[in-house]
Every structure is written in structure tokens, then in C-alpha cells.
């Protein structure tokens, strides 16, 4: 008999990881701390409304939002330029050769594969604490990520229009702009909007590691167990994030932009003039924000001298590499299974009741905005440090991201089949599983493949809890100023991320092709 899991079952299988986890968790608990968790949870209903607290939270939030906006705007413009520069179509039209495009693409893989947190910590050492550090930490990897998406979008567009214009005597740059520009715009803006959401999360996260803004406030209140003040910040951040998501969602609908993991065919956007105006507004916006944040261009050029490389390669080799890489991979796998499998499982559990869906949405929203290192710190109150604790924190964050997408795409899918099954007497959960989850399963898994690759890159952010593989070692080497170790660790991390990216790309292509 042949065993073959059908798509709706495939999305649930990763949730099986809950079984070993349920066995492991009691052993990891160190007994105390539940009282504190209770205080933390109950403080959610009574955030501090003291004027002093509100003022400091609002000030922190403004800095975070400004860092996010500035980092995002610069990375979008830079990414657009780099994306065009690494497009095969563009180089082929201009010079007839695609070799330069391939070279630039390969070069951009390096900034892309290193997480903004690592960039932030490295730049902090190089440039000292200044507002531009967080902005640059966002700009470097984001620009490279945007460039990759732009060049992929560009190269996927049919080139017949360009050729037709060229045949009519138009110069190459004009032909490219006319033929590809309008088709590219909706994709750029849709992805750009998504990057803005990411930038807000990144800016908060960088704050947790001391780069300023609300994140720093959150971490300080967390560490001093001032839970009421902590919740003031969290609720405000939630309000900002949800309105940002709602606003961007509204723009997506208004401009008929492709949804992120498309069940619908991407459509050509309307209202091109509005879109262009928004893009053009980015430049003055960046200047304004830079000024408001107190970014000093000249300070960017003064670098602190680094301590010399010790060239202590034997000690680099002596690092427990298999354990470090293994820990990182185990953490990523565990977090990915938790996030990917739990989202559909929770959706199924909440399905029959409208009342359950609203709290589910809220928990997912909290998961998205909540910096994973803070969850990790919270978990440390009851659990021992290690891979599992880190994975829980990372998994919760990504559950929020995946859950929202799953809910959105399930809402977009036609209810007809589910209705037919319910009419034939199946319960609401089974009707949802068979009728709707089977439709969204393939695109969901394809997105999950991409997300797992993001989680691998991101696993460094929960390294605060210790013993989580490369990330924890990286923080240790950083605080010991062991530059040779640091260099080796970053390189290995980047290599691992690139391998993961390649693997997830292949898996995604296979999933979507078999659909």
C-alpha cells in the first residue's frame, strides 16, 4: 500500500513536532518563574498610563518608526538601482552580455545572507553608538534583498516588448523603461510595502540589542520586571503595526497589486501616477527623517580603529563547529515546524467559532510585532536556556507571520467546496480542512519554504538565551573582541544561509510546479 500525504495533511504534519516537545518541556522547566509569567500576563490588561511612561514610550516609538522609515526608504531606492543593475534582461539589452548581471547578483548574496542584527552589532563596534547604525544595519541587507526580488521580477517579464521598441529604433534605456517600467511598478510597491512592515519589526529588534528606540525601552522594562510599563509599549507598538498593515492592505487593494503568496494571478496595477508620486516622495521623506533622527553624514565616515586580528587560527579551528552548525540547524528546524504546522492547526481548532478567531488574530499580531529575543527572555523565566527555548521564541514570532498569511489566503479562496462538504454533513473543521486548506496548501507550503530560509537567517536573534549554536557563539566572540573567530563565524553563517536559500528555492519551485 502506498502512503502519500495529500496537500491538506502536509500542512499539518510539521505540527507533529509538538509530541516530542511535550515530552521535552517538563525536563527543561526549572520550576520557578510561573508567578512572574502570571504577573506578566495579567499586566496586559492594566498597562501603565502614567504620563512619564507614556511620554518615554511615545518618544521611543517615534525613534523606532523613524529608523524603520529611513532604513526602508533608502534600502528601497538602493535596492531598485541594484536590482536593475543585476537584471539579466537589462544587461542583455544594453551590452548583449549577461555576465555582469550574474557577477553583481553573486556579490549581493553576501550582504543579503547576513542578518540585520549581525550588521548592527558589527557596525556598532566600527562606528560607535549613533542613530545611523540602526539605519545602516537595515539598509545593507534590505537593499540586497530588494535588489534580488526586483531583478527576479524584471527577468520574469516577457522581453518581446523591449525587442519591438528596439526594432522601431528606440535607444535601449528608453525601450527598457517604457516596456518594463509600468509592468514592474505594482510588484515593486507590493514588495516595498511588505518590506516596510519588516523594517518596523527590525528596528524594534535592533533596539532590543541596544541600538535605541522603543526596543531598548522594552528590554529595559522587561529586565526590571516592570510589566505594566512593558505592556504600554507593546500595545502602542501593536496599534502602530496593525494600522500600518491595514493601510498597506488598503493600498494593495486600491492599486490592485499582486498579493504576497498569490492564489490570484498577479494583475497589472492601476493608478500608475499615484504610485509614482509615492515612490518620488521617498527622497524628501528620507532627508527629513534623517534630519529628525540627528543622523550626521560626517559621523558616518569616522570609523573607530579595530583591534588587530590576532591570527589565532588554531583557536578558531578549535571551536566546536559541528555542534554550532548543528545547534543552529536544529533551532531553525524546530522553529519552522512549530510555526508552519501550528498556524493551520490553530486555524482548524478555531474554525467553528467566530469568537475564537478574533483572539487568534490578536495572538498572531502580538507574535509578529514582539521581538523574539524578548519572548526568549520571558521564556527564560520558566525554562532553561538552550535550543528548545530559542526555537519556541523564534517559532512564536514566525507563527504570527505565517498565521496572518494563511488566514488571508484562506479568506480569499472560494468557499464553494467547503460549503458543499458542510451541506453533505461534514463538520465545520473537516469541511475547512478538505474544502479550503487543500486549495491553499501548496502556496502556503511554498511560502513556508521561503519563511524557513528566513528563520535560518534570523536564528541569531534568539541567541541571547545561550547555547543556540552559531548565534550565541557569535555574541560571545563579539564581546571578547575575538575578530578572527567573528570573521569565521559570520562567513560560516552566511554560507549556511545561502545553502538554505538555494534549498528553499528548489523546494518552492517544485511545490508550485506540481500544483
Amino acid at each position: 500500500m502506498q502512503l502519500r500525504a495529500a496537500p491538506p495533511l502536509l500542512v499539518l504534519l510539521p505540527a507533529l513536532v509538538l509530541l516530542p516537545l511535550a515530552l521535552l518541556l517538563p525536563g527543561l522547566s526549572h520550576g520557578g518563574g510561573w508567578e512572574l509569567i502570571g504577573q506578566f500576563a495579567s499586566a496586559a490588561f492594566t498597562p501603565s498610563l502614567e504620563p512619564v511612561v507614556l511620554r518615554s514610550v511615545a518618544a521611543g516609538l517615534l525613534v523606532t518608526v523613524a529608523m524603520a522609515l529611513l532604513g526602508w526608504a533608502v534600502s528601497l531606492v538602493l535596492g531598485l538601482l541594484l536590482g536593475v543593475a543585476s537584471s539579466r534582461t537589462v544587461w542583455a539589452s544594453l551590452t548583449g552580455s549577461t555576465v555582469p548581471a550574474t557577477c553583481i547578483r553573486r556579490l549581493l548574496a553576501i550582504p543579503r545572507s547576513i542578518h540585520e542584527l549581525i550588521w548592527g552589532l558589527l557596525l556598532l563596534q566600527l562606528m560607535g553608538l549613533q542613530p545611523a547604525v540602526a539605519v545602516l544595519a537595515i539598509v545593507i541587507p534590505y537593499a540586497a534583498l530588494v535588489a534580488r526580488v526586483i531583478s527576479d521580477l524584471l527577468d520574469a517579464l516577457p522581453t518581446t516588448n523591449v525587442e519591438a521598441l528596439r526594432a522601431g529604433g528606440a535607444p535601449a534605456p528608453a525601450a527598457l523603461l517604457t516596456a518594463l517600467g509600468p509592468a514592474l511598478l505594482p510588484g515593486v510597491l507590493s514588495y516595498g510595502g511588505y518590506r516596510l512592515e519588516c523594517a518596523l519589526r527590525s528596528a524594534t529588534l535592533l533596539g532590543v540589542f541596544g541600538l535605541g528606540g522603543l526596543g531598548t525601552e522594552l528590554k529595559l522594562t522587561m529586565q526590571s520586571l516592570a510589566f505594566h510599563e512593558l505592556w504600554t509599549g507593546l500595545w502602542l507598538l501593536l496599534a502602530v503595526m496593525l494600522s500600518l498593515e491595514a493601510g498597506l492592505g488598503g493600498l494593495r487593494r486600491r492599486w490592485l497589486m499582486p498579493v504576497r503568496f498569490g492564489l490570484q494571478q498577479p494583475s497589472v496595477g492601476l493608478r500608475a501616477r499615484e504610485m509614482l508620486l509615492v515612490l518620488l516622495a521617498l527622497l524628501p521623506l528620507s532627508l527629513l527623517l534623517g534630519h529628525a533622527l540627528g543622523v550626521q553624514p560626517q559621523a558616518l565616515l569616522t570609523w573607530q580603529p579595530l583591534p588587530p586580528l590576532q591570527n589565532d587560527w588554531p583557536s578558531v579551528l578549535a571551536l566546536p563547529w559541528p555542534a554550532l552548525v548543528g545547534g543552529t540547524l536544529a533551532l531553525t528546524l524546530l522553529a519552522a515546524c512549530l510555526a508552519v504546522g501550528l498556524a493551520p492547526l490553530l486555524l482548524l481548532l478555531a474554525a467553528p467559532s467566530r469568537w475564537l478567531r478574533a483572539p487568534l488574530r490578536l495572538v498572531w499580531a502580538l507574535g509578529r510585532l514582539w521581538p523574539p529575543p524578548l519572548t526568549a527572555l520571558l521564556l527564560l523565566l520558566v525554562l532553561q536556556p538552550g535550543v528548545v527555548t530559542g526555537a519556541l521564541a523564534l517559532g512564536f514570532h514566525n507563527l504570527g507571520v505565517l498565521g496572518r498569511l494563511l488566514l488571508e489566503s484562506a479568506a480569499d479562496a472560494s468557499p464553494a467546496t467547503e460549503q458543499a462538504l458542510a451541506c453533505a454533513g461534514s463538520g465545520p473543521r473537516l469541511a475547512l480542512l478538505y474544502g479550503r486548506l487543500s486549495v491553499v496548501a501548496r502556496p502556503y507550503l511554498a511560502y513556508a519554504a521561503y519563511r524557513s530560509d528566513v528563520m535560518l537567517r534570523e536564528s541569531v536573534v534568539v541567541s541571547l538565551v545561550g547555547a543556540t549554536g552559531l548565534g550565541s557563539q557569535l555574541l560571545e566572540s563579539l564581546s571578547a573582541f575575538a575578530w578572527d573567530q567573528l570573521l569565521a563565524l559570520v562567513l560560516v553563517y552566511a554560507l549556511l544561509t545561502l545553502l538554505g536559500e538555494d534549498l528553499s528555492d528548489r523546494w518552492r519551485a517544485r511545490l508550485l510546479a506540481s500544483g
Binding site: M1, Q2, L3, R4, A5, A6, P7, P8, L9, A416, T417, Q419, A420, L421, A422, C423, A424, G425, S426, G427, L430, A431, L433, Y434, G435, S438, V439, A441, R442, G515
Partner: protein, 249 residues
């Protein structure tokens, strides 16, 4: 014969006029009933009330002499006795034919079996039998529905109905988008399945296909204007029902 479906004083309000108004109707075991009427006359609404999709705001629906069960499980088992052939078929494209046929058993299966059905082929004999009744090759069971032809899909949807084994078969214009030969074949299959204790209620926009039915019901602007043996369906009545827009006759 016992009644399978009873509608009593069903009204579905809407603007500018009710979609259904004061419908009284009883369908008994073994009856094969054709539902006639122009577009917008309320045929689909009546079928939606009959299969429980649309709870009526006024009036009462009885299935096999009982009103809708209060308990969830009771209601599910009641729904399982009503089979609907949808015009757009509503098969799960991503699943295999066998998984689709078995989806008709979800009302009586528990979770373990429903999950197992997504992992390995279950109740193959019963599925083969349903396929054979619909003149479908058994090897198609393993195919995903998305790989089937239009005619095959139509038959798989029928086979799924047989797997459900309902006492009341409802069909909303199942022949509308089919070529004449396929339409005649499908209709013959449907009529053959409607033997006691089963009953069939099928909405039809082609009065030329009435042969084989026992009884016809005519709807006009949400009201029941005719209910009798098909021998009583004459040209003047059809003209009245379709208000001069009679299709081929």
C-alpha cells in the same frame, strides 16, 4: 410512500420581491420531480432551502418527517441524507478521485479516518463500485481531480453523491453547460439512481428533457404556479412560466 422533503409556507424575503413566497411542497420516496421556471424564478433558492444551506425566515422544512435537529451531530447526520449535485461540481481539485469520493463519508467518519483518507486509499471496494456505476475506469481513482476531463469530472461528482448514499437527491441545473449527448447521458444516470427509497428534485431549463420524470413543479417569480404529473405540462403553461422566453421546445 413516506415523504422525504416537506416545505411548508416557505418565504424568503428580498427586495424588490420575495425570492420565494408561500411555498408548500411535499416530495415522497421514489418520486422524480423536475423543477421548471425562468432565470430568477427562485429555483436555486428553493434548492438551497431544501438542502439546508439557506434556513428559511418563514415557514418550515422537514426532512424525512423531522424538523432540523438541534444537536450538531444530529444535524450533520440529517445533512448527510441530502445529496446535492452542484452546477460547478465543487470537487476538491487538489485531492485524488478516491479522496473526493470518500469526502462524502466525512459526516459519519471521525477525525482519525478523515485524516487517514488524506494519507492512504480507504474503502477502495466501495469507491470502485461507485465508479463502475458511473461507467468510470477504476484506475482513475488515484488521479488528482485536476487531471480529469470535463465529462469525467461530472461523473466523479455523481459517484461522490452515490458514496454519500442520500435519500434526497438535489441537482441545480446540472445539464446547463453540457453538450446534448452528455446531458442526456447524465440525466439518464440521475433518473436511474432515483429509485425508492430515494427521491430526486432537479431544476431544469430545458422542458424537452422532461421525459422520465414523474412530476413537474413550476415556479414563477417565487411562487408555485404548477405542481402535477408531467403529462399536464403543456405549451401554454410553459409559455406562462417562461413569459415568452421559452428556450428550445
Amino acid at each position: 410512500m413516506n415523504p422525504v422533503l416537506e416545505l411548508r409556507g416557505i418565504t424568503v424575503p428580498a427586495q424588490p420581491r420575495p425570492r420565494l413566497e408561500g411555498i408548500d411542497l411535499t416530495i415522497r420516496q421514489g418520486e422524480r420531480v423536475a423543477l421548471l421556471g425562468a432565470s430568477g424564478a427562485g429555483k436555486s433558492t428553493l434548492l438551497a432551502v431544501a438542502n439546508g444551506l439557506l434556513p428559511p425566515q418563514q415557514g418550515e422544512v422537514l426532512w424525512e418527517g423531522r424538523s432540523p435537529a438541534r444537536s450538531r451531530r444530529g444535524r450533520r447526520l440529517q445533512q448527510a441524507r441530502i445529496g446535492t449535485l452542484w452546477q460547478d461540481l465543487r470537487l476538491v481539485e487538489e485531492l485524488s478521485v478516491q479522496q473526493n469520493l470518500n469526502a462524502a463519508r466525512l459526516a459519519v467518519w471521525g477525525w482519525p479516518k478523515a485524516l487517514l483518507n488524506l494519507l492512504l486509499p480507504l474503502e477502495t471496494d466501495a469507491c470502485r463500485q461507485a465508479m463502475a456505476t458511473m461507467d468510470l475506469e477504476p484506475h482513475l481513482l488515484e488521479r488528482p481531480v485536476s487531471a480529469l476531463s470535463g465529462g469525467q469530472r461530472q461523473r466523479v461528482a455523481m459517484a461522490r453523491l452515490l458514496r454519500q448514499d442520500p435519500v434526497l437527491l438535489l441537482a441545480d441545473e446540472p445539464l446547463a453547460s453540457l453538450d446534448p449527448r452528455l446531458a442526456a447521458e447524465l440525466l439518464a444516470l440521475l433518473l436511474r439512481q432515483a429509485l425508492p427509497p430515494r427521491a430526486l428534485l432537479l431544476s431544469l431549463h430545458r422542458p424537452d428533457l422532461l421525459e422520465g420524470f414523474d412530476r413537474a413543479i413550476g415556479l414563477r417569480q417565487g411562487r408555485l404556479v404548477f405542481d402535477g404529473p408531467i403529462a399536464g405540462v403543456h405549451r401554454a403553461l410553459l409559455h406562462d412560466l417562461y413569459e415568452g422566453t421559452l428556450p428550445c421546445s
